[in-house]
Symmetry: C2
Subunit: 218 residues, 2 copies
Amino acid sequence: MQRHFHEELDQLKQTLLAMGAMVEEQIRRVMRALVDRDDAGAQDVLARERQVNQYDVEIDEKCVELLALHQPAAGDLRFITTAMKIVTDLERIGDQAVNVAQRVIELNREPQLKPYIDLPRMADKAQLMVKQSLDAFVARDTALARSVRSADAEVDALNHQIFRELLTFMMEDARTIPRAIRLILVARFLERVADHATNIAEMVVYLVESKMVRHTHA
Amino acid sequence: MQRHFHEELDQLKQTLLAMGAMVEEQIRRVMRALVDRDDAGAQDVLARERQVNQYDVEIDEKCVELLALHQPAAGDLRFITTAMKIVTDLERIGDQAVNVAQRVIELNREPQLKPYIDLPRMADKAQLMVKQSLDAFVARDTALARSVRSADAEVDALNHQIFRELLTFMMEDARTIPRAIRLILVARFLERVADHATNIAEMVVYLVESKMVRHTHA
């Protein structure tokens, strides 16, 4: 039984990592679609959203099942409940890729406003944060989790920089406003990806370092 | 034991409702601060964020404790795991109130761009959705939960309408751009409040109507 349970826990981790890899891939694909002005690439991201949602339901079910069948104690219990929270953040990272994909399709109807340099940099950073937050969860590595939290400030800084630059475009030429606003939104969606990675990282620190359930209420 | 457990579950519901009332109040206060151009009111919302976060931690701990002590079966188990997800949505609704409060303080540094009519309407709708989604959770009322989901479309429509109106302001007078963008963001934050309420409502439908844990894997 105990052996079986730990195999199941291990499988849960693998599925979470697979979901994480998938949402990272969604970010990567949607940014390529943005840069290449590729409608088909953006449509592809929209189509793959279904799979992300399937992971969400599957992992959730798995967690409830593990809780029901094995009634795990303190450490394992909290690991599973944390996984249930993390899966929500991953699903919402997937939603951000969808949000960007929709803006890409809109942007492709007009000429490109400017070359994209900072947006891909911002996406790379956010994507790495997602990867590292999950690695930190699986390895219970709080040092890595803390580094994710500090990377969030860099993504915020890029977001503000992109915002200011696009504001200048808009002020100088009103015809750029609809495109500039879409790009501002893309930057905000990427910022939210980084926020979700930060949520995951914070849960890892809490999981590993906080006092576990102390049955204080009993 | 059983009696005790159901008292604890009931207390969990009450705490969730109290947290829900608090985040609703945050939305109400921040919208009043927007309309009244009241920096102190916005600061007050920022200060009260601590309490929202305390609820988040408290409810999470309570849920883990109930899982650990009572090892509940199917229905109660899923009720508790759903509560753990809902609390995350409530906490993020609280974050949106904070996001609006920050924009209010920035907006107060410049003259008012226009009278606010649709934004408060949008906030009222979003706030009602939060209340109803929680009522639906506590009463396991899927009809109410479904009505929350359909209200989301109205909030989205208001968001688009506000966006288009502010776009017109920006196109006509570049000096309005910074204020208009802040108001566009306020509308998006309110839209996210409605999205979180919709998440809660969807979880209620899933909680009540989906097949519960069937131990299919055992």
